[in-house]
């Protein structure tokens, strides 16, 4: 797992993906930071955090798209799958590499917090909870993106597929708002990534949401392992 993790981190930075990902992430988060906080004179970073959710929908698939699809295309997966490592080790090595990139990106908010603290009081505890929520959502999204990448050998298909999947997850909320059947609506809201995330940006720390995101990540990583397992047995 360690070898794969290190190789992927190296590959992110030796290709342009890491730079494009970080640059776009910083541009958009910085844009909303300057509009919501600097221009509006507010120290409440919730607005920035809720836009992070949308940025992630588009950027995380860029991060995960080549992780497995490229291995398949270049036939390098044969090297990985015949090496003395477990499938779980391979998947997690790649997962944590992408997660590391995401952590580097999201950690920019500490700089925003620091800038704001010069001019006013920042609710640091809320910021910590928000940061945690962003990481959890990112962790779940990366697992989904990785799963999509394992299904195809085309990077572009993996990216588009990932964006579509994450977009649909976001649409759950909109669908839920139109559903009038009480139990179905509450069920959809339970499934909603955004509603749970929104709670965090309001400063509510809900343990069940934490578990929800973690189990999503675990589930999709498990699916990815199964994809390889299945291919081997078919």
């Amino acid at each position: 797992m360690g070898a794969i993790y290190r190789r992927e981190i190296g590959a992110f930075f030796s290709s342009s993906i890491a730079y494009i990902f970080l640059a776009v992430f910083y541009i958009f988060s910085g844009l909303f930071f300057s509009l919501d906080n600097v221009a509006a004179g507010s120290t409440n970073l919730s607005g920035v955090f809720s836009t992070l959710f949308f940025i992630s929908i588009f950027l995380i698939p860029l991060l995960t798209m080549r992780l497995f699809s490229e291995e398949k295309k270049q036939r390098t997966e044969q090297g990985l799958l015949t090496a003395p490592v477990s499938l779980t080790g391979i998947v997690l090595g790649k997962y944590f590499a992408a997660l590391t990139m995401y952590v580097i990106a999201v950690s920019i908010i500490w700089i925003y917090g620091f800038i704001l603290s010069i001019y006013g009081t920042v609710a640091w505890l809320t910021l910590v909870a928000n940061y945690l929520a962003a990481l959890l959502v990112g962790g779940a999204f990366i697992a989904i993106g990785l799963f999509v990448s394992s299904l195809t050998e085309n990077q572009v298909a993996a990216a588009v597929g990932g964006i579509v999947c994450l977009g649909m997850i976001f649409l759950i909320d909109i669908v839920a708002s139109f559903v009038k059947t009480g139990w179905l609506q509450s069920f959809l809201y339970d499934l909603s990534f955004y509603t749970r995330y929104y709670e965090f940006t309001c400063g509510i720390f809900n343990l069940s949401s934490v578990l929800f995101y973690i189990s999503t990540a675990v589930l999709f990583n498990f699916f990815t392992v199964r994809v390889f397992e299945k291919r081997r047995w078919s």
């Binding site: 794969i4 590959a11 044969q78 015949t82 477990s86």
Partner: protein, 324 residues
């Protein structure tokens, strides 16, 4: 040591590999021969745990590849048909990655240096794999398989894309490795198999068509009682005289190769050497024998013979032989 028992792989209805069994002993180099699509790569992929078998077993040093894949894989160095190279990395960082991936315990620097020297890629160590020629890529692929010094090497067409000089070098290298490794080598190139391998398995349509040493294999198919003779003399008389010899099964006059000289295909009962008799007859009639040779077969002929439909018969003979 590699033991393969009744290994079978189905893709849907298609039987890619059907009930293959063989054993490769320590320090043996086994050549895998077969036309395209015969199941060579599929078998190798099953041995290395890349794909699973539909039924049957593959044991690497006594460890079942499906039951304890991680341990079994740690015994194997595998060079697939297309070397699994990360083309954006340098040779150095790629081999370092493989070293880590295989959780190799050997001293890193000296081991990598050994492998680089062995595969003759030390001069391209810091170049990006993408920019290397096919031959160099192939050798990086081989280096990758050698990292960790695994006791079993499985090489799928290792000399593809190399120039003749490099081919000879790689063959020499494989031969040297074969002294303390168990090697399975697949190839289309028969002379390569003949030069390198102790034993040959010919696979055709997913079944083992022949399994023997290269020389035994040629004995099996060669019939030293079959002779090609070019005799200067009247055709009808020659035919009659030779037919009159003991143990002649069949004689046929072939083409007129030289003016008035025909070539004769003579087959005696198996085990009878009739060359001397033919000579004696010729002397008695004062005919001149211009050529006399037994119809020996090269591995190439055997390969064609076996893969062109005679495989089943030979296979049965093998099985009979095993039964005895």
């Amino acid at each position: 040591m590699i033991e393969v028992r009744n290994l079978t792989k189905h893709y849907g209805d298609k039987k890619a590999v059907n009930d293959i069994s063989f054993t490769v002993n320590d320090g043996e180099i086994l050549g895998f021969l077969g036309p395209n699509g015969a199941g060579k790569s599929t078998t190798m992929n099953m041995l290395t745990g890349y794909i699973s078998s539909t039924s049957g077993q593959a044991l690497i040093n006594g460890v079942d590849i499906l039951e304890d894949p991680i341990r079994a894989k740690s015994y194997i160095g595998y060079l697939p048909e297309i070397p699994p190279l990360y083309v954006d990395m340098t040779v150095h960082s790629y081999l370092n990655f493989v070293f880590d991936l295989k959780k190799c315990k050997l001293p890193r620097r000296s081991h990598l240096k050994d492998v680089l020297t062995l595969c003759k890629i030390a001069d391209v160590e810091n170049r990006i794999i993408k920019n290397l020629s096919k031959g160099y890529k192939q050798r990086v692929g081989l280096a990758q398989a050698l990292i960790g010094n695994p006791p079993v090497l499985i090489l799928d067409e290792p000399t593809v894309g190399l120039d003749p000089k490099q081919m000879v070098e790689i063959r020499t290298l494989i031969k040297r490795l074969g002294k303390n490794h168990t090697v399975i080598l697949s190839s289309h190139i028969l002379s390569e198999i003949q030069a390198v391998c102790d034993r040959v398995i010919i696979i055709n349509h997913g079944v083992v068509a022949a399994d023997d040493t290269a020389s035994n294999l040629s004995d099996k198919v060669t019939t030293d009682h079959r002779i090609m003779a070019r005799i200067d003399g009247p055709r009808a008389e020659i035919l009659q005289a030779i037919r009159g010899l003991d143990g002649i099964k069949y004689i046929r006059a072939d083409m007129e190769r030289e003016p008035g000289v025909y070539e004769y295909e003579i087959e005696a009962e198996p085990g009878i050497d009739i060359r001397r008799d033919i000579n004696r007859v010729a002397r008695e009639h004062e005919w001149d024998i211009l050529t006399l040779r037994t119809m020996e077969m090269t591995l190439e002929d055997i390969f064609l013979k076996i893969t062109m439909g005679e495989n089943i018969q030979l296979n049965q003979e093998n099985k009979k032989g095993d039964g005895k």
